[in-house]
């Protein structure tokens, strides 16, 4: 690059909220980045399709210590009802960005530590992580010791904004799997009101360990969701993720996954189901930094109303990463004449003995397939439902954990029924 990236809009409102920048090197660097670059708008390549310009004008405030307890209870009860979350599923609950031990039930085999700005802030170069680093107050470090299979757990985020206020919460989590450990995490976020949820999750999967990460983003309609995952994958380890985006007016899920040693496997799959005036962005950078690793990505967008779906996926194969096997597929289904998809699947390859491919398709429901179903007596609405679900099925079925896959499938079903109603 020859020129300096264009400068975004001012992040001054966020910068003024951080009291103790000076004491922390990561916070200093984050503040510096936000001062220099600001909140990105369309001119910044990495944010080409998702401008944060509107955030600059919103008077975000920190979350109150005591949120509306009844609203929190209602949201948690909804989780059980809508998502049929098993009552006995171990869980760590965050309310308004703060750990709520009284609502949590931690699993055996997972050791939990509270966040401290001094020890838990890893430095990252992206804007959303910088924003989090600047304002993170709480979060959890979940560690599974070597060789332990810790089973399944949920990491729940509930944000309730009081009427008339706009909140921003910036939880910072870490998941650490030591050698040969296993864990499946359902990462679910819900909320009520006008707020910004900006969670950052650092993941380290050591040799031979397996982490399954099913994320279900069901924020309130007015909310904004800016999440970043940084995953480091060791030898013969795997990070198997699926991100289902349903909520929020403006949402971005950004993944930086790095295969550091031979034999690593990463799956960054996802689906975005959007309606109304929603904008959701799934951005990923998968870096092959070691030989003989494998990456897979299947991302689906189903777009109705005036919704806009964004997919930016990059596979970067470094010079050393010979025998890389990389595959990426991104497909969009437009259900209305006013929806829009913007996709940028990208390959950046510096090793020659590799097999990398990507594919992308955009289109509407196939008229012939619809006709086929109709001609066999399936009603129009039901025929559409069958085709949309079949379209999503390819991606959702890639989720390795059966119980978590069931949660995702139920969420798809609920979305469609609500949309169709």
């Amino acid at each position: 690059m020859n020129a300096i990236a264009p400068v975004g809009v001012s992040a001054a409102a966020f910068l003024s909220r951080c009291a103790d920048v000076d004491g922390n090197a990561v916070r200093l660097a984050a503040a510096d980045l936000l001062r220099r670059v600001g909140l990105p708008r369309a001119g910044v390549e990495a944010w080409k399709y998702t401008s944060l310009r509107t955030l600059a004008d919103i008077p975000f405030a920190g979350a109150p210590a005591r949120p509306d307890g009844a609203a929190v209870d209602r949201l948690l009860a909804d989780l059980a009802r809508v998502h049929a979350l098993e009552a006995d599923l171990p869980r760590a609950v965050m309310v308004n960005g703060r750990f709520a031990p009284e609502l949590s039930r931690l699993p055996d085999g997972v050791s939990v530590a509270r966040f401290s700005a001094a020890g838990d802030l890893a430095p990252h170069g992206d804007v959303a992580s910088a924003l989090n680093a600047l304002l993170a107050e709480d979060g959890l470090t979940l560690t599974v010791a070597a060789g332990v299979d810790a089973g399944r757990m949920a990491l729940l985020s509930v944000v309730v904004a009081p009427d008339g206020a706009v909140l921003s919460v910036h939880p910072r989590h870490r998941i650490v799997l030591e050698g040969g450990a296993r864990l499946s995490v359902l990462d679910l976020s819900v909320g009520r009101g006008d707020y910004l949820n900006n969670p950052v999750l650092d993941i380290a999967v050591a040799e031979g360990a397996h982490l399954v990460h099913a994320k279900l983003q069901a924020e309130d309609a007015a909310a904004r969701h800016l999440a970043v995952v940084h995953a480091e994958i060791g030898a013969d380890a795997s990070y198997d993720s699926f991100t289902l985006t349903l909520g929020g007016a403006l949402a971005r899920h950004e993944v930086h996954a790095r295969l550091n040693e031979e034999g690593g496997i990463v799956h960054v799959n996802g689906a975005q189901l959007l309606d109304g005036r929603q904008l959701a962005d799934l951005t990923s950078v998968i870096t092959h930094a070691a030989p003989a690793c494998n990456s897979r990505q299947t991302v689906k967008n189903v777009l109705a109303g005036h919704a806009r779906g964004v997919f930016q996926g990059k596979i970067l194969v470094e010079r050393v990463a010979q025998k890389t096997d990389g595959y990426q597929m991104n497909q969009a289904l437009l259900l209305s004449g006013t929806a829009e998809i913007d996709a940028k699947p990208e390959l950046e390859i510096y090793a020659d003995d590799v097999r990398c491919s990507h594919g992308a398709t955009v289109g509407a429901l196939d008229a012939e397939q619809l006709f086929y179903l109709r001609s066999r007596g399936v009603a129009g609405g039901e025929a559409r439902a069958i085709l949309v679900k079949a379209f999503l099925h390819d991606a959702v079925e890639l989720m390795g954990d059966e119980a978590l896959r069931a949660v995702l499938n139920r969420a798809v079903e609920t979305w469609w029924n609500r949309k169709d109603a």
Binding site: M1, N2, A3, S336, E348, D352, H358, A360, A364
Partner: protein, 496 residues
């Protein structure tokens, strides 16, 4: 003993550079002083005896350019360019008067002969025996551009009989001012981007083609660009307008001497296709790529764009990119008319320290518009090659279709190949399909060829030609042969 002869030839060829077009022509030049100011632009305009409107247009572009910054998004890197350290006008000295082949400086004719460009209007006569080894070729009309000016344009009378205008653009400004004024900058506005604005301010020559309604251009048209002078940039401008139901096939070739410094080539090409017309634009780009250490070579920063203005019109770009130190080029189609068709076929080869960032844009505006993109990228040595393309379906592009295929081939583990497609759709019934692969030459294929007695280099040549077949078959016959040879030469020394 053929094997020994072959070895000897190979050893000999390793001793010398493979860029055989790298010679320099000694000729007296008329040059503008170094630097770029309003005065330079006035001088160019004055030398070319341009009308006032064009000078104003240039000055406006210059003003816009001064407020612009160089684009930074391409995956190329180079030291900053000093735009004041070049001559913006360089023309071989010549006497005034009408141009005919007899009046052209013999030194120039020898140059083009050496480059293999036919400037003599040899008629093809039936029954005439050709010397052994020579194949009968259909005539091709050539416009030869040497540094800043066109030195000769052949077959003008034959073309004029058919109603086709084919002449240097500087002449078109004088002879056909209405046409030029109407279309110049209508596809690539003067302030479109940094390099287009620079070109609009200082462009010197290039070709103008006008094919009137219902005329099928009777022969292939071609322009041959040659950079010769030191410390100059070449800023040519090509404008092709094809009226209702007309068609034309246009070829473009280019070379430059070998030098240690970099030279800038910033061209603008505009195509306008009316109802039921078609334009086929083929390029074999063979600017000097620099030496094995990456010294010298041309910076090829080009804006090429065509607009399918009428219904069912068609624009097809075919390019074989083997030269240039840096290529920054995105021949694009704006598919405005209903049922318009855009095509982009590209082979980009980089070796040694070359960098290429090239691709296309297909902007679908009209209903049932269709576009096809086939891009083949081959990287060898320590080069970097990027395909960057945009497919955009606008809300009114109902029933539009796009198919894109990008394949990259890496030869060696010190090069890079990248694919950056942008896919944007705002129409429910538009369909886009995109696929891309990156791989290396398979061991099995190589082994198979070697086993049958092909040398490694020949085997690679064969496989690469197969890899590029889909694109090469789109080239006019004589270009396809040249392109195949070029591919081989460009990749020489990249294996083993």
């Amino acid at each position: 003993m053929p094997a020994i002869a072959e070895t000897r030839d190979t050893v000999e060829s390793l001793g010398q550079s493979t860029y055989k077009w790298g010679f320099e022509t000694e000729i007296e030049m008329d040059m503008a002083p170094k630097g770029l100011t309003e005065e330079t632009i006035r001088l160019i305009s004055h030398r070319k005896q341009e009308p006032e409107w064009l000078l104003e247009w240039r000055l406006k572009a210059f003003q816009a350019w001064q407020g612009m910054t160089e684009p930074g998004w391409a995956k190329v890197s180079h030291p900053p360019i000093d735009f004041q350290d070049a001559h913006y006008y360089a023309a071989p000295k010549k006497k005034a008067g009408p141009k005919s082949l007899e009046e052209v400086d013999p030194e120039l004719l020898r140059t083009y002969e050496k480059l293999g460009i036919p400037l003599h209007e040899q008629a093809l006569l039936a029954g005439v025996e050709l010397p052994e080894g020579e194949v009968a070729r259909p005539p091709v009309a050539v416009d030869a551009v040497f540094d800043s000016v066109s030195v000769v344009t052949t077959f003008r009378e034959t073309l004029a009989k058919a109603g086709v205008i084919f002449c240097p653009i500087s002449e078109a400004v004088r002879e056909h001012p209405d046409l030029v004024r109407r279309y110049l900058g209508s596809v690539v506005p003067a302030a479109d981007n940094f390099y287009a604005a620079l070109n609009s301010a200082v462009f010197t020559d290039g070709s103008f083609v006008y094919v009137p309604e219902g005329v099928r251009c009777p022969m292939e048209l071609s322009t041959y660009f040659r950079i010769n002078a030191r410390n100059t940039g070449q800023f040519e401008r090509t404008l092709i307008v094809v009226e209702d139901g007309a068609s034309v096939s246009y070829l473009e070739g280019c070379t430059a001497p070998m030098r240690d410094e970099n030279q800038l080539h910033a061209a603008v090409v505009e195509l306008v296709a009316m109802t039921d017309s078609s334009i086929k634009y083929s390029t074999v780009q063979n600017w000097y790529p620099g030496d094995e250490q990456g010294r010298g070579g041309i910076y090829n920063f080009v804006t090429k764009r065509g607009v399918c203005r009428g219904d069912r019109s068609k624009i097809s770009w075919t390019q074989v990119e083997t030269g240039s130190a840096i290529t920054w080029k995105y021949p694009s189609c704006i598919l405005q008319g209903d049922g318009a068709v855009g095509e982009f076929y590209s082979v980009a080869v980089t070796n040694n320290h070359q960098q290429a960032d090239t691709g296309t844009k297909m902007i679908h505006l009209g209903r049932n518009t269709r576009s096809t993109i086939i891009a083949k990228t081959i990287s060898a040595g320590q080069s970097d090659s990027t395909y960057r393309g945009l497919v955009r379906m606008m809300p009114k592009a109902a029933g539009a279709r796009n198919f894109t295929q990008c394949d990259s081939l890496l030869i060696g583990d010190r090069c890079g190949a990248h694919t950056v497609p942008y896919i944007e759709s705002r129409n429910l019934s538009a369909k886009i399909e995109h696929e891309a692969t990156t791989s290396k030459i398979s061991e099995d294929q190589l082994f198979y060829c070697r086993q049958r007695g092909l040398s490694e280099e020949d085997a690679v040549g064969l496989i690469v030609n197969g890899f590029c077949k889909d694109v090469l078959k789109e080239l006019p016959m004589e270009f396809a042969v040249e392109a195949q040879k070029l591919l081989q030469i460009s990749l020489e020394g990249s294996v083993g």
